[in-house]
């Protein structure tokens, strides 16, 4: 009988030598890390079983040791990975089973007594986004000196794709203008740019746009989406609120390129920063910045439990902080330990504890200049007031005499309020009524009235100081507990403020941590998430999708980055600039870096040859066409029609909207159309009622302000068509555009000028012909002016007009 050679070989070895062919560290541990450790690791091990060391497996968990001496079949570990245990489900739970070869290795290892080194360090499967980014080397290439292009093209090579050529100059200028300021370039801007033959003409244009005060509006609106900004309280009553000074703070902070770490710290914890003694507005502005988390809804419905909705707002602050800054779906842990990411329900409520100790306050948003002006007015008022009081005193003794001498006609001429009091006998009048009567008398005195008018005039010089909503830390902190199943009526264990264990520790040991500690921890360069999440969101604005497509989920269920090295390089460069000249955390530097890349500057034209390999353009062999955000759809029409009012900031405004919109909410609110130029303000200033948003905003997917919005949808619907075609506001803008064309361009150039106002570029010959045909048909029937109106309407309705190419 022949015995296989390998058997003979095996027989020559001792058993121990034989099994040493299975190396725990090299063969077994990676299998456990791959399949087991995400649930049976250091963080909240399932069934209290840890498989991140062999010792842990031997100790076992709630169902006893996972490893038992003897044949492999005796070990719990073997039974569950083969699905042969009588009660426990097959492992890995609800995931693909181990491969036959993996099982075989484990069987051999168990049979050998599961040998493993002593002092084994626990292994851990750490998700990529929880490891702080390290700056990768930029690929060296001949065809690109820009780091972004080097990373992108390296991958294009791998996919067998090539980059697209640069977009034409006009398209490029319109693209970068819309992206940086949200406004299209004027024909003059275009002429200037196309005539600029300097090699750095584009970079100069970028710098000009970044310096524009409209930059803060454009990127401020992106931040408002995250902050769930609105001008009303939400829920069913939806009363108006004043929080626009916070919105203006955002615009100004971005325009001054406040470093992003400061920008966030002030918004999360501005009230906890040390008050500055300087007479300027620093501390007031820091307190005002905390309005970020006052953009929560307020429920004013009758019969509710106010505590329930206070807690709702706190929960929203936790969830928004998690999603907006950490890119984690922390809200999932409100009711139970996070199913996929290492965040326990307890840790959720540790975060909750940071936000549970503030009061909601209303702040006077008075600048130093406002305060000085107010003091000056008060000072100027004093002498006039004294004069008025003195005149009153002089008149008072003659009151009874005056009253007695009143004729019926004189009495009837007095204000109703005064007449009512005079109807009472003097002894029946209380103090307030006596004052009314006296004032009635004083008003009949010409000298008194003159002084009073002077007083009013002085007072009218006082600045109108708006209020805004802010947070203020309580002196007596509120105790926090875990809510069982997330239900506030079921309080569980008490918790202290703290951060999730999977992220770097809070550097606070000797005292309870507060919101400022949390804010600083979030913005610490060692925090693996914050910078990545931010650069990814900025990237998303420029290309439609982030490098991590799930821009709100960097956890284990999110999609992995398409270009991990580029993402990390951008995050590092943002925190610690090397190629950019700007300071750390400079958003303007980040914008400049991206928009000057060839990747950004590519044409967006779909190329059939790349379409087959990369239909979704994940590898960026071209730019993407992006439909403009709701506010910008309006802004583009405003600019084209020449009605645009460039004023920045201030209270919300009321451009026209169709009748009946305000009836759709529970409480009927009025909508009085703004005048004096306010009806032509940018879309971002339209007063935003959460319950009844302006239909032209809602129909183009403006976020609803109910919860944080990290990416807008871009729907494409018939109701959008009806809005651009028939909405009174757009029809009026078309009329203004028609008038502008006729006013500003010589007859022969009008069609081209009209197209340039809307698309920046000139029409193609074919387009010109089609528009001319339209104009001629219209002109024959309804005359020249009406024909221009139709041309203007058509242009404002074009897909290209409301798209960033």
């Amino acid at each position: 009988m022949l015995i296989p050679r390998w058997c003979l070989w095996a027989l020559t070895l001792s058993l121990a030598e034989w099994v040493s062919a299975v190396d725990y560290l090299a063969d077994i541990k990676p299998i456990l890390i791959e399949h087991c450790v995400s649930c049976h690791g250091a963080d909240h091990p399932k069934s209290d079983l840890r498989l991140d060391t062999a010792a842990g497996a031997r100790t076992g968990g709630r169902h006893g040791p996972a490893i038992t001496a003897g044949p492999a079949e005796a070990s719990l570990l073997w039974q569950v990975i083969t699905g042969t245990h009588a009660e426990l489900p097959a492992m890995p739970y609800k995931k693909p089973a181990l491969s036959p070869s993996e099982r075989e290795q484990i069987r051999l290892w168990l049979a050998a007594g599961a040998p493993a080194p002593e002092n084994e360090l626990p292994s851990r499967k750490i998700h990529w986004s929880f490891v702080p980014p390290k700056r990768p080397a930029v690929p060296v290439r001949d065809d690109s000196s820009h780091p972004i292009d080097a990373f992108i093209r390296q991958h294009l090579d791998k996919e067998g794709l090539t980059a697209s050529p640069e977009a034409d100059r006009v398209t490029l200028l319109r693209r970068v203008s819309l992206d940086l300021t949200g406004l299209p370039p004027s024909p003059a801007d275009v002429d200037q740019f196309t005539a600029d033959s300097r090699p750095d003409a584009y970079e100069r244009a970028v710098d000009r746009l970044l310096a524009s005060p409209h930059y803060g509006e454009r990127w401020g609106r992106v931040w408002l989406d995250l902050a769930r900004y609105a001008d009303s309280n939400g829920y069913s009553i939806d009363a108006p609120r004043s929080i626009w000074p916070w919105r203006d703070w955002v615009i100004q902070a971005l325009n001054s390129d406040q470093p992003f770490d400061r920008f966030v710290i002030e918004q999360l914890a501005g009230d906890l920063l040390a008050p500055a003694d300087s007479p300027d507005d620093t501390h007031l502005r820091q307190r005002l910045a905390t309005g970020f988390h006052r953009n929560t809804q307020i429920n004013e419905e009758g019969g509710i439990d106010p505590e329930q909705f206070r807690i709702e707002a706190v929960l929203d602050r936790v969830n928004t902080t998690g999603t907006a800054l950490l890119g984690l779906t922390i809200g999932c842990a409100q009711c139970h330990d996070h199913k996929f990411d290492p965040i326990s329900q307890r840790e959720y409520f540790q975060l909750y504890a940071f936000f549970n100790t503030q009061d909601d306050v209303t702040l006077e948003a008075a600048s130093a200049a406002d305060r000085a002006a107010r003091t000056a007015v008060e000072r100027a008022t004093q002498p006039v007031q004294q004069e008025l009081d003195a005149r009153g005193k002089a008149l008072e003794p003659r009151f009874a005499e005056w009253e007695a001498a009143l004729t019926p006609a004189q009495r009837d001429a007095l204000p109703l309020e005064v007449r009512n009091v005079l109807g009472l006998r003097p002894e029946q009048r209380n103090d307030a009524q006596r004052k009314v009567a006296l004032r009635g008398y004083f008003q009949t005195d010409a000298e008194y009235r003159a002084i009073e008018q002077r007083l009013q005039k002085v007072r009218s010089g006082a600045p109108k100081i708006p209020t805004t909503l802010a947070l203020k830390e309580r002196t007596e902190p509120r105790a926090s507990v875990v809510f069982i199943k997330g239900d506030f009526t079921r309080p569980g264990d008490p918790v202290q403020p703290g951060t999730p264990a999977v992220l770097p520790p809070l550097p606070v040991a000797d005292r309870p941590a507060n919101r400022l500690d949390l804010a600083q921890w979030l913005m610490d360069p060692q925090n693996p998430l914050t910078a990545r999440v931010l650069v990814n969101r900025v990237w998303q604005q420029y290309f439609g999708k982030g490098l991590v497509e799930t821009e709100n989920d960097f956890g284990t269920q999110g999609s992995p980055p398409s270009h991990p090295a580029l993402l990390d390089w951008l995050a590092c460069e943002f925190m610690e600039p090397t190629v950019s000249a700007g300071p750390a955390w400079s958003l303007k530097s980040l914008h400049r870096l991206i928009v000057t890349s060839a990747t950004y500057r590519q044409s967006s034209r779909v190329r059939p040859e790349t379409q087959e390999k990369d239909a979704n353009n994940r590898w960026l062999s071209r730019q993407n066409r992006l439909r403009l955000d709701a506010e910008l759809v309006r802004d583009v029409a405003l600019v084209a029609s020449g009605t645009f009012n460039p004023r920045i900031g201030g209270p919300g405004v009321f451009p026209p909207q169709p009748d009946g919109v305000m009836n759709l909410g529970q409480s009927r609110r009025s909508w009085t159309v703004s005048t004096g130029g306010d009806q032509y303000r940018r879309g971002m200033y339209t007063f935003f009622w959460r319950a009844t948003p302006h239909p032209a905003l809602a129909v183009f997917d403006a976020p609803d302000g109910f919860s944080t919005c990290t990416r807008r949808l871009r729907s494409n619907t018939p109701l959008q068509a009806l809005t651009l075609l028939n909405d009174a506001a757009f029809v009026e803008l078309a009329r203004q555009l028609a008038e502008r064309i006729q006013r500003e361009a010589p007859e022969a150039d009008r069609l081209d000028y009209a197209v340039r106002l809307c698309l920046a570029r000139r029409p193609t010959a074919q387009e010109r012909e089609r528009l001319r045909t339209l104009w001629q048909e219209e002109s024959r029937e309804v005359g020249d002016a009406a024909a221009w109106m139709t041309v203007a309407r058509v242009l404002l309705n074009l897909d290209e007009t409301i798209t960033r190419e």
Partner: protein
């Protein structure tokens, strides 16, 4: 010669040489055919294009009669003689433990004595369903209907409870039932929105438009209110000074120029834009036509009790039938005000009688009319509020009842629901459902099931999570399936 002909030629050639752009030739034909602006099928690229149900469907369309404010089941359907006997006595503590109510303060316990109904009840039809004298017309359709007397919800204030009934969550920002359904199935209507909302009563429902919002789903799926006065849809009407000829000319020029740009860029999103303009233009004609009752016979108007041109719930019921005939997937009617605390305009005496009269005939007529036209088999009709009312009375100016979440009655008809059937039972006071409790999530699961959708599989990824209408809850109620 039509001036845009050379353009069409060029575009046609372009398209057929580039199938890789993924444009269906059917869509293309409808875009390039002559005078297609006013007719022809909706292009396939439309997000509301009808999609087959994943599983065999019993219902194709839904008409949801939303009784805003929470009608009192104890005055209408849930007959409790024992409650009458205990009238005026305090409710046993065992019922109140751990419960929360609206307007609850320290005096709550003292105010909550049991209130028997003063309405007469009779059994009707083969099922022997109890219906009160306030609903004579509804009593006539009991053999077409399944009554669910054991409905339960989670939330006891109006706005959040309405949201919960519509979206399965009391948080704002989730998609409504109608949005989920049109997201899952699209719509057969190519010239009307797939999800339409009609309103009647003294004011809009609490919470307003969020009740039919699309939440995180694309706005294509949000409910579109058709208004009973003025333009049926916002911005539907061409500005009068422009007129239809000029509108058509403009729409055609927009289409041609968009087509040229489609050729230049190759972006299929422009095809969707072109299709949206085509449908918008068709809607300008078809929506007013759908709202126009002049073609309805006198007999039909009598059946519903509709006075032409006077907005009413009954008129909206008739419009709902017309919309179903035109392929609209989901129609939701809101009628206010069923709130009955006993205060002014909200008592259980004459105020309640009034709102019953406003609703009874139209609801019953709708079921009869659908049946006689053979539409009831395919159309699921749902009737109910956001919650019910307490067995305890509430004494304000007059008699009323507080909001109650543990037991209330809804009814369903047609669309695969048993005819002449009763589901669930409450205890002798009508406080708790004691048999076959049907929670809102179960109701949602069942409605989707009837439409051929597994409620666990209709999902949308948002903020890193797959969301569904029923969240992590919901079971199909077998007794609601014929």
């Amino acid at each position: 010669m039509n001036p845009s002909e050379p353009l069409r030629d060029l575009t046609r050639r372009h398209f057929f040489s580039r199938c890789s752009l993924g444009l269906g030739s059917v869509a293309l034909a409808s875009l390039l055919g002559p005078s297609q602006a006013a007719s022809g099928p909706a292009p396939a690229s439309h997000p509301l294009a009808p999609k087959p149900a994943p599983f065999p469907a019993r219902a194709r369309n839904v008409i949801y009669l939303f009784m805003a404010g929470g009608p009192s089941q104890l005055e209408l359907f849930d007959y409790k003689p024992r409650l009458g006997q205990l009238n005026g006595q305090p409710i046993p503590d065992s019922y109140l433990e751990g419960k929360r109510f609206a307007f609850m303060d320290s005096s709550f316990k003292n105010r909550s004595t049991l209130l028997g109904t003063r309405r007469q009840f009779r059994q009707h039809g083969q099922s022997g369903m109890w219906v009160s004298e306030l609903f004579p017309h509804t009593a006539g359709i009991v053999d077409d209907v399944t009554f669910v007397r054991s409905c339960a919800t989670n939330v006891f204030n109006h706005a959040p409870a309405k949201l919960f009934m519509n979206t399965g969550s009391s948080q704002f920002g989730r998609p409504s039932l109608g949005s989920w359904v049109t997201y899952g199935l699209g719509s057969e209507a190519d010239n009307l929105p797939g999800f339409v909302v009609l309103q009647s009563g003294p004011r809009g429902p609490r919470g307003g438009a969020v009740n039919w919002g699309s939440g995180f789903l694309p706005t294509s799926y949000q409910g579109v209110p058709l208004r009973s006065q003025g333009e049926p849809i916002l911005n539907l009407t061409t500005p009068t000074e422009l007129g239809d000829t000029r509108q058509r000319r403009a729409v055609e020029a927009i289409r041609d120029l968009n087509l040229q740009h489609l050729v230049a860029t190759g972006d299929p999103e422009i095809t969707t834009r072109i299709a949206a303009y085509e449908m918008a233009y068709r809607m300008q004609t078809s929506a007013p036509e759908a709202m126009d009752l002049t073609g309805e016979s006198a007999a039909t108007l009598r059946l519903y009790g509709v006075e032409p041109d006077r907005p009413s719930f009954a008129r909206n019921c008739l419009l709902a039938r017309r919309l179903v005939e035109r392929g609209v997937r989901f129609i939701q009617l809101y009628h206010t005000n069923w709130d009955s605390h006993g205060g002014p305009g909200e008592n259980l005496e004459d105020d309640f009688e009034k709102v019953c009269r406003q609703v009874d005939q139209g609801s019953a007529a709708l079921v009869k009319d659908l049946r006689s036209r053979g539409l009831l088999d395919d159309t699921l009709v749902i009737w109910g509020g956001e919650f019910g009312r307490t067995p305890m009375g509430e004494n304000r100016e007059k008699t009323g009842r507080n909001h109650h979440i543990d037991a209330f009655t809804m009814w369903l008809a047609g669309g695969g629901v048993p005819a002449g059937h009763i589901v669930g039972e409450t205890d002798e006071l009508g406080f708790n459902a004691v048999q076959d409790r049907v929670h809102v999530h179960d109701l949602h699961a069942t409605i989707l099931h009837l439409l051929g959708i597994n409620h666990e599989q209709l999902t949308f990824r948002f903020q890193g999570r797959d969301f569904r209408l029923t969240d992590v809850h919901g079971q199909v109620v077998k007794s609601l399936l014929a």
